[in-house]
Amino acid sequence: MEIVDLSTLPDSEVRYTEFLRQICEKHDMDHAAYAGMNPAAGTVAGFVTYDDAWNEHYQKQGLIMIDPTIHMARRSIAPVDWSRLERSPDFQRVFRDAHDFGLPSQGVTIPIRGPYGDIGLLSATRNCSKEEWRKLYTNFIGDLQAMAVHIHDNVVSSDQLTGALYHPTLSSREAEILQWVAAGKSQQDIGDILSISHRTVEVHLRSSREKLSALTTPQAVGRAIAIGLITPG
């Protein structure tokens, strides 16, 4: 199943939860959650697929103040497998409660650092054997990284102030490659035309897509044309 780009979902808070649901479905996860901190705008955002009962308990007990999947994971540059947090007393406190609500303590949090001190954390959990989890991990982790930056960039740029700061700038190489895509050339062709490796083309396209908050290359081309970074065809 392909994940629907956030901007094409209806413009309300529900779309973030819907996006998280799609992530769960694609990667066979039980639940997903996003927490974002944006100090420039002074805002905190949170979207989850958990049941209301747990959300209420989590808020009432002030678990957000101690939750290590937020406070510790944000200090890592790599995804944090929750097994790394297990020994912390705060983890045991939060997940003892979570267990009573039928939530697993097996999961991963992906920290994303933005340019203005903003931080986004995408978490996903799944109740399964450790072996199965490890096997799945290798397959989903790269895609979850891309999903994490996608939801984070969308949340941050939906704020008026940071949205204005967040306008994408492409390097001339990125614009050049995107321009060739708009002209209908394949990645292989573009590599040959510019005398660069296939992987260099790929890495620049990946960067352009993420800068333009697009999940697919055609979408990135559309946006780049719309904001005048490249010309049509």
């Binding site: 510790m72 944000r74 200090r75 890592s76 540059i77 790599a78 995804p79 944090v80 790394r84 020994r87 994303i112 650092r113 933005g114 340019p115 290798t138 982790i141 790269g142 895609d143 979850l144 990284q145 891309a146 994490a148 930056v149 700038t169 492409l170 390097s171 001339s172 190489r173 990125e174 660069i196 490796s197 992987r199 260099t200 890495v203 620049h204 990946r206 960067s207 993420e210 800068k211």
Partner: protein, 284 residues
């Protein structure tokens, strides 16, 4: 062996980090003559305060022999902020699946020539393998690395040639600097492993590393009870408490208890107990 130190475990490895910052001062401030800030013999910049990840190479004695620093390209990093000359003012690449690696250094004084263990070549390859595997396991697909032309040649010679470069080679200190692209694929890692003859796991976990440092301390510092009789029952008790302490608060409690019972110990014994809990624990 390789350890990874980041914002989650750096409180356990502050001495290792200090040793690494000293190595960086010798390499970047001294040998390469870069314009870096050195204080107290350590090279530390603003990016070190942003919780980067350090991949650190250790020799069998637990000394830092190689190190590199990784940051996400989605947030503040060197190419977006201080190395913009390399990119000729162009916007840097930004991707959740690309990390930037900087401050790659190897201790050429401590290490030997050739390709054997404890050689510059071995330590370089081991650090490269560690960095690429750490990145790959995190779902990272590419690394953009800021290096000097010597390091670029080393990469090419080690079966690990960059697949491309971004921007220009610009003068920096006594040398120059450039930005190279490396993929974190199994092909690259196995090529590097083949070249270096390193087939085993290169990583050490936190516990193993702490044990190695305790052993190193015990060997370099004089044992805590050097001039004393064998350990008394009370000393043994403290050693046990100290090694059983699970966190800083519990360690502090043991130290307080030692203080409270200071009449029982000679001043030397007390200082030894307070100063070298780990070495002492290892002794016991």
């Amino acid at each position: 062996m390789i350890i990874v130190v980041d914002g989650l475990n750096r409180h356990m490895f502050s001495e290792v980090l200090d040793e690494m910052f000293e190595l960086r001062a010798r390499v970047f401030g001294g040998r390469l003559g870069w314009d870096v800030k050195i204080e107290d013999g350590k090279e530390i910049d603003e990016f070190d305060h942003l919780d980067p990840a350090y991949v650190i190479g250790l020799d069998d004695g637990g000394n830092v022999v190689a190190a590199v620093r990784a940051l996400q390209t989605t947030g503040p990093h060197m190419l977006s902020d201080v190395f913009s000359a390399i990119l000729c003012g162009e916007a840097p690449l930004r991707s959740a699946t690309m990390w930037e690696s900087t401050r790659f250094c190897v201790d050429t004084q401590r290490l030997t020539r050739g390709k054997e263990k404890n050689s510059v070549s071995y330590a370089t390859c081991e650090l490269m393998i560690g960095s690429l595997e750490y990145a790959k396991n995190a779902g990272i697909q590419d690394i953009i690395t800021v290096i000097d032309p010597v390091m670029d040649r080393v990469l090419k010679r080690s079966n690990c040639a960059p697949y491309d470069y971004v921007g220009e080679t610009v003068p920096m200190g006594k040398v120059s600097a450039l930005a190279a692209l490396l993929d974190c694929t199994d092909e690259r890692i196995s090529g590097l492993r083949e070249f270096a003859g390193i087939h085993e796991n290169v990583f050490m976990d936190d516990e193993e590393a702490l044990a190695l440092f305790a052993a190193k301390k015990a060997a370099t510092q004089s044992p805590a009870n050097q001039d004393h009789k064998p350990l008394t029952e009370l000393e043994k008790y403290f050693v046990e408490q100290m090694s059983a302490a699970r966190n800083e608060a519990e360690r502090q409690d043991v130290l307080k208890l030692i203080e409270a019972l200071s009449d029982t110990f000679t001043p030397e014994q007390k200082i030894a107990l307070l100063d070298t809990p780990r070495a002492f624990a290892h002794e016991a």
